[in-house]
């Protein structure tokens, strides 16, 4: 094994070791803790970029598209295995980018608002990286729980009644979902006798017809656990208030938590119930499609009805989840490719939006906000005044209001999916895939549910535009005496950075679409994934 293969384990070990080391440093050494945490996150970003290049260097046509790494060097179906392919590499980069942005943002103020922020943050990154890299279901559960445990701590970071109350709901919902996850995993194990995802895809063919019902029940229960995480209607009512309650950098990194649910559903549905699965082909696709459609409709009305910007952003997360789930439910490679582009674009946008909201809220006069809970959520009831002295440190941004306005406008364009930013390219790529089922130029009759999805995707963009215009006018134009907010460079830089990345996605749209197309094609060819994990013989057994 070449040494570069060992890079696969770096995104998990690096945050784990850093998080553990940070525990040993006393809370009074803010700067040292921040520097260690920052260095680790930068290294994580570098490692994931290298891994993406590795994943992208293997040819997609009939080659091995996944690289596997056997932890402790036991052979694949027995051992814990990490698998890298284009999709997981893409998700890793996304985790590192959002992680870096929210970490930098937190350095202005939030990382001192409570103990062990950096440790929890690193553990969250570790759990996320592990969930995206793992090749078996039980480790997925473990990494999922690591992520959740860290997210419980981070959601409560900064304390306050609103945060604790929504934290209670968040924890209760997620504990219940984890129990469903366990039931699903153990049912699948009971039927097939394996937890390795690639091995599972192979053994699925040998499941006797009598046991198939149990297997389907297990897969469905497992799916529900991830649908809760992704926030599909009617399992999503916890999401807007939890995301609104969390501190700004925390809700920014939480945006990627919903994407873990989407990622697992995408991976498992195409690996286990793809075109080779015989009678099980397309299992769950209808549920995801319709669930996604209803979620988009529900979240669109939520976006229009939101008074507070935090809630608006929470519903935008739901719009993005719903659109992705519906696209996954369609199961078509071109649609999935567009959906992956949309995933990247919408994650970057909503993460930037959550951080921007905190800065914009400072420009509002206290009391201008209709919902008192928002102020409570951002800790303006006393907590902030005590920290005013600390805030004087750091470079203050000149012309803050103008820059905030430009960023806000960019977020509005991205959420609405208007040109010239990447939101437009993403939606365009998805819609092209939906309307050209058999490739460009081949006439195809479009089923009504596809038209429904097309209409909902466009309408959700319109709703986002309306809602953003309303809150933008209310914030930037309507107040008679505008309070010029104090914004530090270190706070606006990550927001601007994420938005610049979205611009970059537009400019480099061609290369990005090529990458997502390759990722989608390899997802639709499970035998290549299996070949990467178990070797060529097993893959042939599936492909026949």
């Amino acid at each position: 094994m070449e040494w570069t293969r060992h890079l696969l384990v770096v995104p998990i070990l690096l945050p784990l070791v850093t998080g553990a080391l940070l525990l040993l440093i006393d809370e009074s050494h803010h700067t040292l803790k921040a520097l260690v945490s920052l260095a680790s996150t930068v290294l994580l970003l570098l490692a994931s970029v290298v891994l993406t290049r590795m994943a992208n260097s293997v040819p997609v046509e009939r080659g091995i598209v996944s690289l596997s790494y056997a932890v402790a060097s036991w052979p694949a179906p027995l051992a814990i295995v990490l698998v890298l392919d284009r999709l997981s590499a893409l998700m890793l980069v996304l985790v590192a980018v959002i992680g870096l942005a929210s970490l930098v943002f937190s350095l202005a103020r939030w990382h001192r608002a409570g103990p062990h922020f950096h440790t929890l943050f690193q553990f969250l990154l570790m759990g996320l990286a592990g969930a995206f890299l793992t090749g078996d279901l039980f480790n997925l559960f473990v990494f999922f729980e690591v992520t959740l445990a860290a997210s419980y701590g981070l959601l409560l970071h900064g304390s306050g009644a609103f945060r604790v109350r929504s934290g209670l709901h968040y924890i209760a919902i997620n504990l219940a979902a984890s129990l469903l996850f366990l039931i699903g995993v153990s049912l699948i194990y009971g039927v097939t006798g394996t937890l390795n995802m690639a091995d599972l895809a192979v053994r699925l063919h040998a499941v006797p017809a009598g046991d198939r019902m149990l297997l389907q029940a297990g897969a469905a229960i497992l799916g529900i656990a991830f649908l809760v995480k992704a926030g599909v209607w009617p399992l999503c009512f916890w999401l807007p208030s939890a995301y609104m309650a969390a501190a700004a950098p925390v809700s920014a990194i939480f945006v990627i938590l919903t994407k873990v649910g989407v990622y697992v559903l995408l991976r498992l549905s195409l690996l286990l119930f793809g075109s080779q699965a015989g009678e099980l082909t397309g299992f769950g696709g209808t549920v995801m499609l319709w669930g996604g459609l209803v979620t988009v409709a529900f979240a669109t009305s939520g976006v229009l009805a939101s008074q507070a910007m935090g809630r608006l952003a929470g519903y935008s997360v739901l719009v993005s989840s719903g659109t992705l789930l519906a696209a996954v439910g369609m199961g078509d490679a071109a649609v999935v490719s567009g959906a992956l582009f949309y995933l990247v674009s919408s994650t970057l946008t909503t993460a930037a939006f959550f951080m921007l909201i905190e800065l914009v809220e400072r420009a509002r006069e206290p009391g201008a906000d209709l919902l008192a809970v928002t102020r409570e959520a951002y800790g303006e009831d006393g907590g902030e005044d005590e920290e005013r002295d600390d805030e004087e440190v750091g470079v203050v941004m000149p012309g803050a209001l103008a820059i905030l306005g430009v960023c806000f406008g960019c977020v509005a364009l991205l959420l609405a999916g208007l040109p010239p930013l990447s939101g437009f390219v993403a939606k365009f790529a998805m819609l092209t895939g939906m309307l050209n089922l058999y490739g460009l130029g081949t006439p195809a009759s479009i089923p009504p549910r596809t038209w429904l999805l097309v209409a909902l995707v466009i309408l959700s963009g319109l709703a986002a535009l309306l809602a953003m215009m309303r809150s933008g006018i209310g914030t930037f134009w309507a107040p008679l005496e505008t309070v010029v907010p104090r914004v530090l460079v270190v706070e606006i830089a990550p927001v601007a950075g994420l938005l610049v990345l979205c611009l970059f996605l537009t400019v480099k749209g061609g290369a990005m679409i090529e990458y997502t197309e390759a990722a989608a094609l390899s997802l639709h060819d499970p035998s290549s994934y299996i070949q990467g994990v178990l070797g060529p013989e097993q893959a042939k057994a599936v492909a026949r």
């Binding site: 559960f141 419980y152 109350r165 153990s186």
Partner: protein
């Protein structure tokens, strides 16, 4: 044996679900604990139930490998117990914090009426 275990899991799940749907935080914690017991027993039973089988080998060195209980679900149960224990402990802390901050043990922080 199967019937006893099935009834036990069913009773635990039923009481757990009922308690989770109640409005008090304490009922929520107990409900989630009961549910996790039920799930742990369920995972355990996925390794198939056997009565009177030798743990590894019989006293005379005999033993059919097909008779052994599957160790993987047992390992899974251990992990699930540890994780469930930790998260329940965390939930308890949040519960006490919520009680202190809102002055109510209702899950919404205030009575519904």
């Amino acid at each position: 044996m199967e019937l006893t275990l099935a009834i036990a899991i069913g009773v635990l799940t039923g009481s757990g679900v009922w308690l989770v749907l109640r409005p008090r935080t304490y009922q929520l914690v107990i409900g989630l604990s009961l549910l996790s017991y039920a799930v742990n027993l369920f995972i355990f039973s996925m390794g198939r139930l056997r009565v009177g089988a030798a743990p590894v080998l019989g006293a005379d060195g005999s033993g059919n490998p097909a008779d052994f209980a599957d160790p993987v679900p047992q390992a899974l149960v251990l992990t699930a117990i540890v994780i469930g224990f930790a998260t329940t402990a965390l939930l308890l802390v949040v519960l006490i914090a919520a009680r202190g901050l809102t002055g109510s043990d209702h899950v919404d922080g205030r009575e519904s009426r």
